[in-house]
Symmetry: C3
Subunit: 284 residues, 3 copies
Amino acid sequence: MKPILVFQTDFTYKEGAICAMYGVVKSVDRELEIIDGTHEIPQYDTWSASYRLFQSMKFWPDGTVFVSVVDPGVGTPRKASVAKTSDGYYVVTPDNGSLTHLKRWVGIEEIREIDESVNRLRGKDTEGVAIFHGRDLFGYCAARLASGIISFGEVGPSYPVDEIVEHELREPEMKDGVMHAHIEIGDPNFGNLWTNVPLNTFTSAGFAYGEHIQLVIRYQGEERFNKVLLFEKSFGYADKGQPMIYNNELMRIALAVNQGSFEKTYDLGYGEGWTLEFRKFVHD
Amino acid sequence: MKPILVFQTDFTYKEGAICAMYGVVKSVDRELEIIDGTHEIPQYDTWSASYRLFQSMKFWPDGTVFVSVVDPGVGTPRKASVAKTSDGYYVVTPDNGSLTHLKRWVGIEEIREIDESVNRLRGKDTEGVAIFHGRDLFGYCAARLASGIISFGEVGPSYPVDEIVEHELREPEMKDGVMHAHIEIGDPNFGNLWTNVPLNTFTSAGFAYGEHIQLVIRYQGEERFNKVLLFEKSFGYADKGQPMIYNNELMRIALAVNQGSFEKTYDLGYGEGWTLEFRKFVHD
Amino acid sequence: MKPILVFQTDFTYKEGAICAMYGVVKSVDRELEIIDGTHEIPQYDTWSASYRLFQSMKFWPDGTVFVSVVDPGVGTPRKASVAKTSDGYYVVTPDNGSLTHLKRWVGIEEIREIDESVNRLRGKDTEGVAIFHGRDLFGYCAARLASGIISFGEVGPSYPVDEIVEHELREPEMKDGVMHAHIEIGDPNFGNLWTNVPLNTFTSAGFAYGEHIQLVIRYQGEERFNKVLLFEKSFGYADKGQPMIYNNELMRIALAVNQGSFEKTYDLGYGEGWTLEFRKFVHD
């Protein structure tokens, strides 16, 4: 059975771009199965693209081909690539930071730059188009790979894995009884915030379910949140509307308001500049 | 042919949750066909989840498996269940009110609580996760059922249908020439409001297409709308921008502005507290 | 292999309409493949419906059946039709302007009005419903056509192609060294604006990549934008946040801000009343 194609982009469904891109895939091979990963990655946000690949990939069958098109540099010399992960998936993507988490936390076995002379759509009045690589390059090449028309080796020339463009990934640090951490990403639907602290690291540092923990959140050093929160394994342990610390679906420490939005309630964000300090709460 | 899986959630496509959930399904059985019902149920709104199941289910082939994950109580003792309807569909859902309309208007033949010791995803670093039952429990169990790996009987132990958690459903009432009714739900796209009055009930009470009808809308008893409206079978009978009463796609009385939003134009809502009075309009 | 069904509507996924419509399709024939084109066409905007069909259709396999339901006149005498294009696609749509661009730029070979006595859903308590033709008429008829249950001839009686309802399409005009043009449509995600000037027309008129061009935008004659812009083949040639002129994915001249929104940055729009003047920039 041919591998599934899973797409993620920042295109949204507001106009006809995805429809055109999927048409190209089906014109390469009618049998290919296309799944929407998401088309609502924040615009130009290659960090989120990277995180969403990491978040969902391991749940798919071996050999699944992911196509990630968040491409602020389209038409510039950034590489258009296909990576093979250590656990056997393929990712077709601009090499612009979108492979950061997979490279660090899963491993990239090999990466190849797409040879446009072979693996780019011809005809259909697309020859002079320099801006829609989702349709003309990434989607088309991914379809050829999944269909078996080309092998991974025929994507184009390989290049060293350590040349892959990466964002900085920060690790949490326990110092003097304080867990220093970062807010890695949000859940833009429910408003939860996800930290870079694995559950294991957190519990090994002495924090335990059922306890109350003092959390300080700073933005660029300035205090923006300071509360004592319950740490539990699910939202239902907090009263409705109450903030809490929990273990998220990727086994990492996260922040929520039960049936509410942590991000909006406290006017917080994620990414560069947002830092956390967790301390055991000692009752007076 | 294996039954189709139709999913509805309040997850949206803003992050990677749906992608992970669908990956689990495809890892259970590559052949399973997945259809998006909707992922834009209002957050935690089990009433809407229930209504949307009722609204669309009967149009699907017999045996279709619906997965509904609107789950404010995830991680609390609410039951995770699979219901079999009287007309032969399956619904995999938390038992939290999401089965209200199907139970009353279609009928639930049997309901079983999912046995987590058998029908929950293992591995993939999910063992300590208590919050994402869409991925680890509902999606996984539904895939096993649709695939034929387990029978309905193997979902888990059955429990009495009359223990199913239900919201209150109100019936319209004709009294002294006035039809007293409720706004059951809205169409959040076009802004129409749907009442709990079946067309048959309405016409049996003496209201007829082509007539003008006086409609009073109250919120918690206070008058919010009072106009004489045309009752017709489609929007085009009213001028553009004019309000009207019509027969909706589920053969129930509804309120619209032709090519506009009834809900926004008159600043109205639906659910608890919103009541209606329809009266024959007698010209002076 | 049966043709694919590609759907576009203005329904959104906010409620259960699409789910019901797709259920009808799958009940006609389980084997049919359904693809979301988009369900976010602006409400009642038959111009956008027409443009999106044109934008994506040619990338699909021959014989693909498009279903376009943007239908402000549902329940009025507008025709419900199936068109066959000169390049071998089918479009199931209300005949309300949604075929404008295909008729002019691709060609309609034949058009037939759907015979409701044969090709309309029966049963399921839909007999008295006059408002949801996406489910009961367009989706149902398209499924029968794609499945091979009916031939194109069995859709219903054909009528003259020149009776098809059309919006006005304007052509650009070069006069006294000025290219007079219109903004045809926007990209509501990235905020680019697309003109009605083909790249060939533009370059034949003497404009060339790498040059700076003076652009004046007027709304109803009043000047709303007046700047000298770089004309290049991709966004990356402009600095981040800078406006530019580029060649879009349909080989037409378009306006962008690199990694920003041209439409929002300059508070502009598209459609009736928005006119453009391109002039060679002569440095003092």
